[in-house]
């Protein structure tokens, strides 16, 4: 449960922020050679609360305590980042401009306005999921209820069990995916589930039902116990949360990674070998209702993801290409936020972080030519840089 205390919270000597804006790349490098110990603070910040992140922290890594990590992101982080967290024994996220922009918008959400949709898009490996996680961390710290769907593509591909729905005849249920998601959702939002009460009576079977006025946690328990009803439980949970958020008791953040899966194609087949349309899946239907803006008091942050998208070329990254007409029209009007490759400053920061964590073991990696080689090979793409450094 409790990880080792070592390296939980990044502590470095606090640098005066004014330094960074004046220091240019080369001058910074020469000082780096001289003052090794103080360099830790240039790419790290001890500001652990995303609410206080500003432009001064751009390019710096901030740490999330590991217990908080378990609570806020039971299933959300990308797999490689999770492996990195285990290796380094700490989770450090880089503060980048798109994330700061998004946090700025989220800070100014008004509770009576309809939910604003934000779509994070960008080429492969530029950091869309990490931006989403940054936003989720901020909202979790602010006390919002976070509804995080880690990868909507997982719900439209490789489903081992497709059960015809008992609620609506033409639809299909996915018990395994629903119960996995419910488990993780419960872990991150325990106290909300105790406080929110159902507003309607739900009949699960001849003998089991949930009465009006019972905490939502009971509904989730029902879903975990009877896996057969798990998909319907998910639908019920989403409906209740949406309805009650408009009343203003709490703020809701709907975070969907890979939202283009909701309107794309699935790779699931029916008995007669024809493809299942996304509308015929209960989970997808419930999620589609969540990302509309007919509720108020929260925000919907989504990312477009080509990796994992069924039948889309690997160069597609623009909203229209990935969302198709139907998806675009449903999400419209939304605020698009583009994520780019690392800037010079951010690349330096990442490189110094890897050096400090002793991740780059090759002798040449420490030298200037090694740094330039890394920059050229990865072309400042975060994912590529991470993959290349992994083998050094």
């Amino acid at each position: 449960m409790l990880r080792s205390v070592k390296g939980l919270i990044c502590q470095g000597p606090k640098f005066i922020p004014a330094c960074f804006s004046q220091v240019c790349g080369k001058a910074w490098l020469s000082t780096a050679a001289n003052q090794d110990a103080q360099m830790t603070a240039v790419f790290r910040t001890s500001e652990g609360d995303p609410a206080n992140h500003t432009e001064e922290h751009e390019g710096q890594h901030y740490g999330i305590p590991l217990q908080e990590l378990q609570l806020v992101f039971p299933h959300g982080l990308p797999q490689r980042f999770r492996m990195q967290t285990e290796t380094f024994n700490e989770a450090c996220l880089m503060v980048r401009r798109p994330a700061l922009e998004l946090l700025g918008y989220l800070k100014s959400t008004k509770p009576d306005y309809p939910a604003v949709r934000y779509v994070i898009y960008g080429e492969r490996g530029t950091g869309k999921t990490m931006t989403l996680c940054h936003a989720i961390h901020y909202c979790a710290r602010q006390g919002w209820l976070v509804l995080h769907v880690p990868d909507a593509h997982l719900w439209v591909k490789n489903c081992k069990e497709l059960v015809p729905s008992s609620y609506k005849k033409e639809r299909f249920d996915q018990p395994l995916e629903s119960s996995a998601w419910l488990k993780n959702f419960k872990m991150s939002n325990e106290q909300f589930l105790k406080e929110i009460k159902t507003q309607q009576r739900y009949l699960w079977s001849k003998r089991e039902s949930t009465e009006e006025g019972h905490p939502l946690g009971e509904v989730v328990e029902q879903g975990l116990r009877r896996v057969k009803n798990a998909s319907d439980v998910v639908g019920v949970v989403l409906k209740e949360l949406k309805r009650q958020c408009s009343l203003g008791a709490y703020r809701l953040l709907v975070a969907v990674d890979g939202v283009n899966a909701l309107w794309g194609r699935t790779s699931l087949k029916k008995r007669d070998n024809s493809y299942v349309a996304p509308e015929e899946l209960t989970l997808i239907q419930s999620l589609r209702k969540m990302v509309t803006n007919d509720w108020n008091g929260g925000a919907v942050v989504t990312t477009l993801s080509q990796t994992g998208a069924v039948s889309k070329p690997s160069s597609a990254y623009l909203p229209h290409e990935l969302l198709r007409k139907e998806g675009f029209d449903t999400l419209d009007p939304f605020i698009p936020i583009q994520v780019y490759n690392y800037t010079e400053w951010e690349f330096e920061s990442c490189y110094q972080y890897y050096l400090e964590r002793r991740w780059l073991q090759h002798e040449r990696a420490r030298m200037d030519e090694g740094r330039q080689e890394l920059r050229f090979l990865s072309s400042a793409n975060p994912q590529q840089l991470e993959r290349i450094c992994a083998s050094l």
């Binding site: 500003t54 432009e55 700061l100 922009e101 946090l103 700025g104 918008y105 800070k107 100014s108 008004k110 009576d112 306005y113 309809p114 604003v116 803006n293 108020n296 623009l318 909203p319 229209h320 290409e321 029209d329 419209d332 009007p333 939304f334 605020i335 698009p336 936020i337 583009q338």
Partner: protein, 282 residues
């Protein structure tokens, strides 16, 4: 027969004067003759550590088509010879715009001359008719219908309709058929049929914002925003004609019709931020 050694032949290139008439060396289309072309050409994959093979005995140079018989000087000679068979170009048509204005339909035919058992060539019956649609009197609906009717034959970039006919045995018949097609297309595109009112959104050539689901959603959202701010007496027309909504409409139409460029996305983002009243907080 006494065996005599063959005298080494001096290649023609050595004997050429630099001001010779090249049309005499290559009067017609002929294969590449390395001894007749005084150029140091190399062609082919270079040997390891070396260069491409030279022109002597180079099969690659012989196999490819060459235009050594069509130098500008040779073409000038051809034109001078053909001049006796041509008529004068009208002096009044001295630039392209005047030609297009007086003669919007361009008819292209090819005559083939070859020495053979027969003078006929089946390719000679092909007729190309080209016309710019801006010269035709078409309104919006007629133009869209015409473009849909002709399909591949219309080029959007140059606004030209090209009708190619060769289904009749004689050139004159093909020309008449081409003109007939043009007439029929023009008249048909002006008519509106009963089934045209079933045109769906997928058939539309460009995105029209009015009466689209996007317009309804935007109005709905704006009404909700206004009611949360306790402004309840704003009408639909006022909202539609307000600057914010018009700005959003323009950016969305540009995005859908022209595709997604940096500029378009930036404009869209700005207009949505203004619409939904989202402020930056940094």
């Amino acid at each position: 027969v006494p065996i005599t050694k063959a005298k080494p032949v001096i290649p023609r290139t050595e004997k050429m004067a630099f001001d010779q008439d090249w049309a005499n060396v290559y009067p017609t289309a002929a294969a590449f003759k390395p001894s007749s072309v005084p150029l140091p050409i190399r062609m082919g994959y270079p040997a390891s550590g070396g260069v491409s093979p030279p022109k002597e005995g180079n099969l690659e140079l012989i196999n490819i088509p060459n235009f050594l018989h069509l130098t500008p000087a040779a073409i000038r000679k051809h034109c001078a010879a053909l001049k006796d068979f041509c008529t004068e170009w009208p002096a009044a048509l001295d630039n392209d715009e005047k030609c297009e204005q007086h003669f919007p339909v361009e008819v292209e035919t090819v005559d083939y001359v070859s020495a053979g058992p027969t003078v006929r060539n089946p390719k000679a019956r092909l007729v190309n008719l080209r016309i710019k649609l801006s010269n035709l009197n078409l309104d919006d609906h007629a133009k869209k219908k015409l473009i849909k009717l002709v399909g591949e034959r219309y080029c959007k970039g140059t606004d030209t309709l090209t009708i190619t006919t060769d289904r009749c045995p004689l050139r004159r018949q093909n020309y008449d058929y081409g003109l007939y097609l043009l007439t029929v297309l023009y008249h048909e595109s002006w008519k509106t049929e009963m089934w045209e009112k079933d045109k769906t959104e997928e058939d539309m050539e460009e995105y029209i914002w009015e009466n689209s689901p996007s317009q309804k959603k935007v109005l709905d959202t704006l009404f909700r925003i206004k009611s949360s701010e306790k402004i309840n007496d704003i009408t639909k027309e006022e909202l539609l004609t307000s600057e914010i909504v018009q700005d959003y409409r323009n950016s969305l139409v540009a995005l859908k019709n022209e595709g997604e460029t940096e500029n378009n996305m930036a404009n869209y983002k700005k207009s949505v931020k203004r619409l939904l009243n989202v402020q930056d907080f940094q």
